[in-house]
């Protein structure tokens, strides 16, 4: 935050603290949502973004712009719209993934494959609709869908910060519940938990977090996967009171460190999401080769 401070101190500090705040929010959303998602699905390779959550969000955004022409510019940045979209996302994703997890007999590879193809389907459909859009509307939309940390609107950041803090407190109070959920369906029911309801509410939190992260900076496919797995490794424990905070800290370090390297090491030559994609992809292949 203090590297290369220019003369116009107050302006720069304000801008940079917004960026920093965005990063912290996104780090929180990506890491926590992934860890919870992995606990609910009992494995360490599925993540919300691999399962197409983010693509679904983009599709919903595109569809809203597509079916309500002409209102884009003011509609796009208002809070109301953000809340509406998040609700839609949550409803859709819960319906979709509940169906997926119950109807497909649980074969991890198949679910993962279906998730990836679903993601492609959502992205291509969004792409098709975007092609049908007016160029003006398209450019407004486009600017929202690329992962950058410098563009989110301040009121959106503040709103997200508040929501994320509330979710954080709620989740922290339920940390032991997640430990039980991670044991698997039968054990969890045995231990007296309303399994269906707990899973649904967990998925609800996951969807809200994904919605926030995607709305703020766009899709980041591999961040969650990397920090969650590193967190299990570093904390040496699957208990959520350790893995959740460690994953969060790792995500913050990854984002801020990555951005720092990008800006001062590589002269701003790429975008952070591309770097994360590169490292994350290799990491994923490694995980897959090691585990199967």
């Amino acid at each position: 935050m203090t590297i290369n401070l220019g003369p116009n101190l107050s302006y720069i500090l304000v801008r940079r603290s917004y960026i920093l705040l965005t990063m912290i929010i996104v780090a929180f959303a990506a890491s926590i949502s992934t860890v919870l998602f992995q606990s609910v699905t009992h494995n360490r390779i599925l993540t919300p973004s691999l399962m197409g959550f983010e693509a679904l969000f983009i599709l919903i955004q595109t569809m809203i712009v597509f079916f309500y022409h002409g209102t884009t510019s003011y509609w796009l940045f208002s809070l109301l719209k953000f809340i509406g979209e998040s609700c839609l996302l949550v409803i859709f994703s819960i319906l979709l993934y509940r169906w997926l997890f119950s109807s497909v007999h649980f074969n991890l590879n198949l679910v993962l494959m279906i998730g990836i193809v679903l993601g492609t389907l959502f992205r291509s459909t969004a792409n098709l609709l975007q092609r049908l859009l007016d160029p003006n509307e398209f450019s407004v939309l486009q600017s929202r869908l690329f992962a950058t940390f410098t563009r989110a609107a301040p009121e959106l950041i503040w709103f997200s910060a508040v929501v994320v803090s509330i979710i954080g407190i709620l989740l922290w109070r339920k940390r032991y519940l997640f430990d039980v959920l991670a044991l698997g369906r039968n054990q969890a029911i045995n231990l007296g938990i309303d399994y269906r309801r707990s899973v649904t509410s967990t998925l609800l939190f996951v969807s809200i977090l994904v919605a926030i992260s995607t709305a703020l900076v766009g899709p980041l496919t591999f961040l969650g996967l990397m920090v969650a797995n590193l967190a299990y490794l570093l904390s040496g424990s699957y208990q959520h009171r350790y893995s959740l905070p460690v994953a969060f800290l790792l995500a913050v370090i990854a984002l801020i460190g990555g951005q720092l390297i990008l800006e001062y090491g590589l002269n701003m030559a790429g975008s952070l999401s591309v770097v994360l994609e590169f490292i994350g992809g290799i990491f994923f292949i490694y995980l897959v080769l090691k585990r199967f």
Binding site: V104, H105, I114, V117, L118, L121, L128, T221, I285, L289
Partner: protein, 321 residues
């Protein structure tokens, strides 16, 4: 009986091609076609090459997918899932940076070389996981493709070529295909015919390495041959029209669901269905937002993903019983 169906298929293809010839902004009518010089030019310079390019690229990519599925013994791979297409784009970018004014043939050659290297890398990784799970193979391929395209995007951003590269990667756009820009695709057509000629060897190779060697097949040679065909087809199609997602995946699968696995029999069908599908997508893309055009690959992405999903879910049902 079977040949009757084949004739029917060819008939449908001819109808589609005719529709493709007469779809577009400048109106063509049969009555004045040969008397009006301007109309004839439109037909010969733009419409005919476009239709031919659609057929050639569509059938070639489907055949490439089929060969890849035989060589990897896995139903869920195709050039864009195994990193081949992404490597070809990387090669294209390298040419754009080092020698922007190189002729098409050089671009194509380098893209094919990169495609080959990428596919070889995939095969090497594959050897490690080959006995584990059928769905691991495409997963690893998708991720490998992701890593390669991340490198490409990063380099493109660095050299400020993202936009011109994007036109290619997301391409599959036949609107730029006119006379003089598509002729390389005939080479692809020739390769497809060649693949039909040596089809039996691929069938045998598809039964597995041990079996193939047992019946006296030069396994390495056939592998290398297949890889080169796949790489060259992907390289040329990428350079001339851009990526065509899912095509190599769904066409061979659909055909073999109906026709079985002897590729000497299925290959003509794969060509036919592949060409027809791309043609259909292109026609839809031209009509849906008339007078503007939507690339065939975008339409293909939507339909292809849906069909693929159905295949996956059906496959799992089938496997359970």
């Amino acid at each position: 009986m079977r040949s009757a169906y084949l004739y029917l298929g060819i008939g449908i293809l001819i109808v589609l091609s005719t529709i493709s010839l007469f779809t577009g902004i400048s109106h063509l009518s049969l009555a004045t076609l040969w008397s009006d010089e301007e109309m004839r030019d439109i037909l010969l310079i733009s419409r005919v090459p476009r239709t031919l390019a659609l057929l050639l690229a569509g059938s070639a990519m489907s055949v490439a997918g089929l060969i890849m599925q035989l060589l990897t013994q896995n139903r869920f791979v195709e050039p864009s899932i195994a990193g081949t297409t992404q490597s070809a784009s990387l090669g294209l970018l390298v040419v754009m940076v080092l020698a922007p004014s190189a002729p098409m043939i050089v671009k194509m050659l380098i893209a094919s070389l990169f495609a080959m290297a990428g596919t070889l890398l995939f095969m090497l990784i594959l050897r490690k996981i080959v006995l584990k799970s059928a769905l691991m193979v495409p997963l690893v391929g998708i991720m490998l493709g992701g890593v390669i395209s991340a490198i490409t995007v990063f380099a493109a951003m660095y050299y400020d070529l993202l936009q011109s590269l994007g036109a290619w990667i997301n391409g599959g756009d036949f609107s730029g295909v006119i006379q003089g820009r598509y002729e390389l695709l005939w080479l692809v057509g020739g390769l497809t015919l060649f693949a039909c000629w040596v089809a039996d060897r691929f069938t045998v190779a598809g039964l597995g390495r041990e079996f193939a060697i047992n019946v006296g097949l030069n396994y390495r040679q056939v592998m290398l041959l297949g890889l080169s065909v796949i790489a060259i087809i992907s390289g040329i199609v990428i350079v001339v029209v851009g990526a065509l997602p899912f095509l190599g995946l769904i066409v061979p699968n659909l055909v073999s669901l109906v026709m079985g696995d002897n590729i000497r029999k299925t290959l003509p069908w794969v060509c036919l269905v592949g060409g027809g599908l791309v043609l259909l997508c292109d026609i839809i893309g031209r009509i849906i937002r008339y007078p503007f055009e939507i690339p065939a690959s975008t339409i293909l992405g939507v339909f292809g993903a849906m069909i693929f999903l159905c295949l996956l879910i059906n496959q799992s049902r089938y496997a359970k019983h």
